[in-house]
Symmetry: C2
Subunit: 248 residues, 2 copies
Amino acid sequence: MFWRHILMRKGACCPMQIEVAVNKTSKYAVGESGDSAEVVERPKGGVTALMVDGQGSGRSAKIISNLVVSKAMSLVADGTRDGAVARATHDYLFALRDGKVSATLTMLSADLNSRTIVISRNSHCPVLVKQGDRVHVLADKVNPIGFHQFVKPVIHEISMEEETILLTFTDGILHAGRKYGRQLEMETLTKMLLEATAADVRQLAGQVFSLAVEREENRPGDDMTLLALGVNGNNNERTGRLHLTYPV
Amino acid sequence: MFWRHILMRKGACCPMQIEVAVNKTSKYAVGESGDSAEVVERPKGGVTALMVDGQGSGRSAKIISNLVVSKAMSLVADGTRDGAVARATHDYLFALRDGKVSATLTMLSADLNSRTIVISRNSHCPVLVKQGDRVHVLADKVNPIGFHQFVKPVIHEISMEEETILLTFTDGILHAGRKYGRQLEMETLTKMLLEATAADVRQLAGQVFSLAVEREENRPGDDMTLLALGVNGNNNERTGRLHLTYPV
């Protein structure tokens, strides 16, 4: 109670829970996905979820996305601010591959130090943000990392409040169904987001992912990765949990 | 030797699924856990789960465990072999803190390149391994990292085969119930492991964790982290999933 009181005075309000869900599959008949996704704890508290789509597909794309995600993850774990992580990761890839290879990098951070959610995009794929009963689609034009001399991310910072949901994905999902003339529409995703609650982030991720796979007639034409992050009231739950399923 | 023999006969065969479950809470009335746990994808395929218990509790322990886990995680993501990861991480902590601070480091790797599971221990806490209908308790004496000049891990390598389950934890769980005269016994854990199947790794982790918390009368006297890894037949599921819950 005493703790609670202090927390409330500090502006940290009531106990919350951050949930992250990732669903991921590779291009049909290609064993290895060229996307990488990781979730890492921030040294001052909170988590950062990172999603990278390496140029191309298969093994060569995986090598790129692994390089990028491991560099970025390591910087986040060192306490580097997200804007600097994206810049440094770009510079690293640009120097290492001489501007010949690109990758998208999206980071969603729930930062307990600033009590904000920081969204960092170097991708043509949007990030959908639900707060209250509105969905914002963050889709400003921005370069991927690796190709150009000076690249910086588009960054949005929003308050960390209950019932916030963020949803993003790689272009395998953005373009799902396109070749069959029934591309997944932003309105469909917005509607699904409006109907979801932050406690259902895992279900939401599963539903959107299944829909995208269906639109590709269960044979994805590209690697697909979907990332969702939600903030909800946590009923004083004090246990953190992680569950990972990795098909071999 | 016996394990190595099985490994040679089997090689890579049918589709499998790796599952990792982590449950984690902090010492009662201490906001921040001094343990850290992360799961990272290996660049040649597979995953490594890392668990670190920093000396002490609260913020100072968290700073140590974060240093250690982020260094180790970054090395794993670079493709460093597990034995070298543990040695390098020790050397780093030893140099940085002048041998004055220690941490335990346990790594469980499901390595698709070697088709083996590699268990690396720098901890007094055991790793329980179920294969077939037997449970092996890996508990060779080994130093934690950070204190002594030259420290190396105890490493076991076993074949990656269906129905393998690994279970390990930090000393908050090892010593759970000790002060109430009803310490969690290795026989109890072995029995729970024997009754579990690899598809139930998440449930197993939840059960063992709840039991440990109960033994501490729901007020853990130390940070508690539990890590379980299972390999099961996957029915051709091609979607990887991650779900994280992080209390604030």
